[in-house]
């Protein structure tokens, strides 16, 4: 009896395998880098203009994180050097007249923006004031002109043997939002059976927003070759106390693959179904 059952089971299994008209397979889809960095051997993550929350040193943390990621996940040699306090440099450039080839930061408001950054470097501008504390995105935008300061980046490039320079702005700020959220809760029906149902409840939530702008500069010429802005947010229950640094890493974690795909080809693993 047992032998007969086993025989039937084996026959059934054989039939099932024989009749299967599909086959799952793992694929690795290559995604080309957005930027051709073949002319660079080295990368210098120099520093960022950071604003928003003061609980996290977004300049230092972003440089550290990007250098680590590039070291392991790109073909470029990462230059290890001190992190530049870019905000202070921009403030100083805005105050001082041009010296040693370092052009001042051109004014943001008022006069029309120069046609090119090279022109900006050629024509010394009047000193301007930048907000010393970067509280909102508008304050941060005022600093954007430092990336057009070709002479400054070119000089920096020469110091480090013409690498690809990675810089930009990082805005990390607390966030509070209220609204309806879906929540799963346990209910017991009139028959006494436990069940779960989704209910919409109004909730106050808090969290963080991270908005980095990565600027890629050619160290040989000092010109911007590419820039990219990302936005990530995370929200928690009002009662939940999440340290800002944890939230910062959680948000950076989400956008790192997109940052890396700018510089190096990536392979995305997945499964597909082959048919017969």
């Amino acid at each position: 009896m047992i032998a007969r059952n086993a025989a039937f089971a084996s026959l059934g299994l054989l039939l099932l395998v024989g009749c299967t008209s599909f086959q799952e397979i793992t694929v690795e889809t290559p995604i080309q880098a957005k930027l051709d960095v073949s002319q660079f051997q080295r990368v210098l993550v120099v520093g960022f203009i950071a604003g928003g929350s003061e609980d996290v040193d977004a300049n230092l943390e972003t440089v550290r994180l990007l250098r680590n990621q590039l070291r392991t996940k790109s073909g470029l040699k990462v230059i290890e050097t001190d992190v530049l306090p870019l905000t202070e440099i921009a403030l100083q450039q805005a105050k001082e007249p041009p010296r040693d080839g370092l052009a001042p930061v051109p004014p943001v408001d008022g006069a029309a923006a120069p046609a090119s950054a090279a022109q900006a470097a050629d024509k010394p501008q009047a000193a301007m004031t930048l907000p010393t504390k970067i509280r909102d995105e508008k304050d941060l935008q005022a600093y954007d002109q430092i990336f057009a300061n070709v002479a400054f980046w070119k000089k920096l490039g020469e110091e480090f043997q013409n690498p690809l320079i990675v810089t930009g702005t990082v805005f990390f700020t607390p966030l509070a939002r209220s609204g309806y959220v879906n929540k799963t809760q346990e209910v017991i029906d009139p028959m006494g059976v436990r069940n779960t149902e989704t209910v919409r409840t109004y909730q106050n939530r808090k969290g963080f927003q991270l908005k980095p702008k990565f600027v890629f500069i050619d160290g040989r010429t000092g010109t911007t070759i590419h820039s990219e802005t990302f936005l990530e947010e995370t929200l928690y229950n009002e009662q939940q106390n999440t340290p800002p640094l944890s939230s910062y890493f959680e948000l950076m974690d989400r956008l790192i693959p997109r940052f890396l795909s700018t510089l190096s080809s990536q392979k995305i693993r997945g499964t597909r179904v082959l048919l017969k």
Binding site: S21, P30, I31, K34, T229, F230, R258, L275
Partner: protein, 118 residues
């Protein structure tokens, strides 16, 4: 009378021959598809592309072959060819959930590749 019989004879011959040749084409294409699957499983995707291309040449109405060809193109990073092949597969077999699922995954990756440049 003879002419009618001749015409009838030709008709009967064609009716018998065509389904047979269609079935023959499908079985030849199926053999290519199966061989393609076996090589793809060993990571020989170029050979798989060659086989599945042959299959769709033999039988252009074979949705499974187009689906497999699309997957192989995707694996090779040839996104435009993959999209064309998926669309052909879906046109031939619009109710096939496997093809829909493959195509959805493909679109998600393709979007990710294009996203982010601002």
């Amino acid at each position: 009378m003879r002419r009618t019989l001749l015409a009838l004879g030709i008709f009967v011959f064609l009716a018998a021959a065509f389904p047979a040749s269609a079935a023959d084409a499908r079985s030849k294409a199926k053999a290519e598809v199966e061989f393609g699957i076996s090589v793809a499983q060993r990571g020989l995707w170029r050979e798989a592309i060659f086989r599945w291309k042959k299959a769709v040449e033999i039988d252009p109405s074979y949705a499974a072959a187009w689906n497999n060809l699309a997957i192989a193109y995707e694996q090779q990073g040839q996104f435009e060819s993959a999209r064309d092949a998926y669309e052909k597969a879906l046109k031939l077999d619009p109710n096939n959930n496997f093809i829909h699922q493959n195509y959805d995954f493909f679109k998600e990756i393709n979007d990710r590749a294009k996203r982010g440049v601002r």
